[in-house]
């Protein structure tokens, strides 16, 4: 059953439209990869789904018992975080905040939950360390653990591997795939990296001049057709 359905979205800042008439659906447990060049509105789309920014027109519905505040989010890093004094434990635990409601402090269950995800993302030895002293890959794991604390259904990741070296990137992809398969959590990920689109995900959504929405196999086929067309064009020309 579809967990997120977007119909005829018109997205942009004020009167400036970035994305027009976009429709897609994400099934429960699916892995969707959003690709496209810079400025095609990938992050803006994600921010709109999360209601961080208003929708011009169209509709975004969350079904299957997912509430808006139960969506885990891994945003792009902000410069202020670079020198923020916070321990890994404090950051991961802050993902449980949406469970607290008006209660001012975390309870034992929430602490257990934070510990569980710290274990799962293999950052247990780091839990007392300071966030700003970690490597890029470790930092992303911390933020991923925090996002998991906030959800049990759906994760939205905004270019999680943007500043990572190839090894750390592959590690993170493996972890995300694990989360998707073992925990059954729906993953929507923005990426610049075609390996995600061609190896890991179930469906691909491409924004920009030549938009595409379909399964991974369909996307690979469409890329091959495009590639052949280009080569054919060169021979003829």
């Amino acid at each position: 059953m579809s967990q997120l359905s977007c119909k005829n979205l018109n997205i942009g800042y004020g009167s400036k439209t970035i994305i027009d008439n976009l429709s897609f659906e994400v099934e429960s447990g699916e892995y969707l990869c959003i690709i496209g060049h810079n400025g095609t509105g990938k992050s803006t789309l994600m921010r709109t789904i999360l209601r961080l920014q208003p929708l011009n027109s169209g509709s975004i519905t969350l079904d299957d018992g997912v509430k808006l505040n139960e969506v885990g989010y891994l945003p792009q890093q902000t410069p202020a975080q670079a020198d923020f004094p916070a321990s890994v434990w404090e950051i991961v635990l802050s993902g449980c905040l949406n469970r607290c409601g008006v209660r001012p402090f975390y309870n034992a269950n929430e602490k257990k939950r934070a510990n569980h995800y710290i274990d799962m993302l293999e950052i247990t030895p780091l839990s007392k360390r300071c966030y700003r002293e970690l490597s890029g890959g470790q930092q992303q794991r911390v933020l991923l653990a925090r996002a998991l604390c906030a959800t049990h259904k759906m994760l939205l990741l905004d270019e999680p591997t943007a500043s990572l070296d190839p090894d750390a990137t592959q590690e993170l992809y493996r972890l995300i795939k694990d989360i998707n398969q073992k925990e059954g959590i729906t993953v929507i990920m923005i990426s610049h990296d075609l390996t995600v689109a061609t190896q890991y995900c179930d469906k691909v959504l491409k924004l920009g001049d030549s938009p595409f929405y379909g399964t991974r196999t369909e996307y690979i086929q469409s890329m091959q057709i495009e590639h052949n067309d280009n080569q054919g064009g060169e021979v003829n020309g």
């Binding site: 923020f84 404090e90 802050s94």
Partner: protein, 282 residues
Amino acid sequence: MVEIMHKLSLYFQFPFVQYAMIVGVLIALCASLLGVILVLKRFSFIGDGLSHVAFGAMAIATVVGLTTDMLITMPITVLCAVLLLRKGKRSKISGDATVAMVSVASMAIGYLLVNIFSTSGNLSGDVCSTLFGSTSILTLTNTEVWVCIVLSALMIAVFIIFYNKIFAVTFDENFARATGTPASLYNLIIAVVVAVVVVLAMNLVGSLLISALIIFPTLSAMRLFKSFKSVVICSAIVSVLCAVIGMLVSIVAGTPVGSTIVVANIAVFGVFWLIDIIRGSR
């Protein structure tokens, strides 16, 4: 040494010295808690800007002839804090420019008003004491002391109750918003608290030195501590200690209270910074 102790115990028999001590410690505590939020949110200059606003508002209060000037300074400063921290997304002037503009404008208007309408014979003395808080901490009335105690207690309670939420909103506002934390509400609470603390702190160090009280303890604590909780606790301790030492020294040596406290803070920052460097080079 015995002489100094004797002098101090003599001074502490006066109620106004006791009041000054209580109020000074509470204000230092509040300012340091607030400082952690402001420094980490990259709003260090808001405290400075608001203190100038408070100076302007105080001038208005003097002109109108109110005896308790907090009735005017508090609402005006709170209003400005809310407007400044709302970070107008559509505004055509950038955030830091707005702060600078508001702060110098209220300074100028404040001084102009005092100059035109002043009834006091010692104009420059009045202005100087508002700017550097030279004596106001020692001339607090009973009511002012109670207002200070109640407001500080409220502020500390708000900080403890919302501690986890404040952490989340300060570390990553987007994530907090996305997972359903009403970040704008907490930003509003922070703005109001900043204004309250600034107005209270004017009594202690005067309007020009308030931001020192707000930012120094946090910056010192950040040299040595790596987690949010330890930074909060350390900056609170540093701030209270510096306030107490500053006030004691100023009583014994007859130096101005505000600047002495700030110098104590600078000294602590220097020491912590050195420790950090020595640790790092090992």
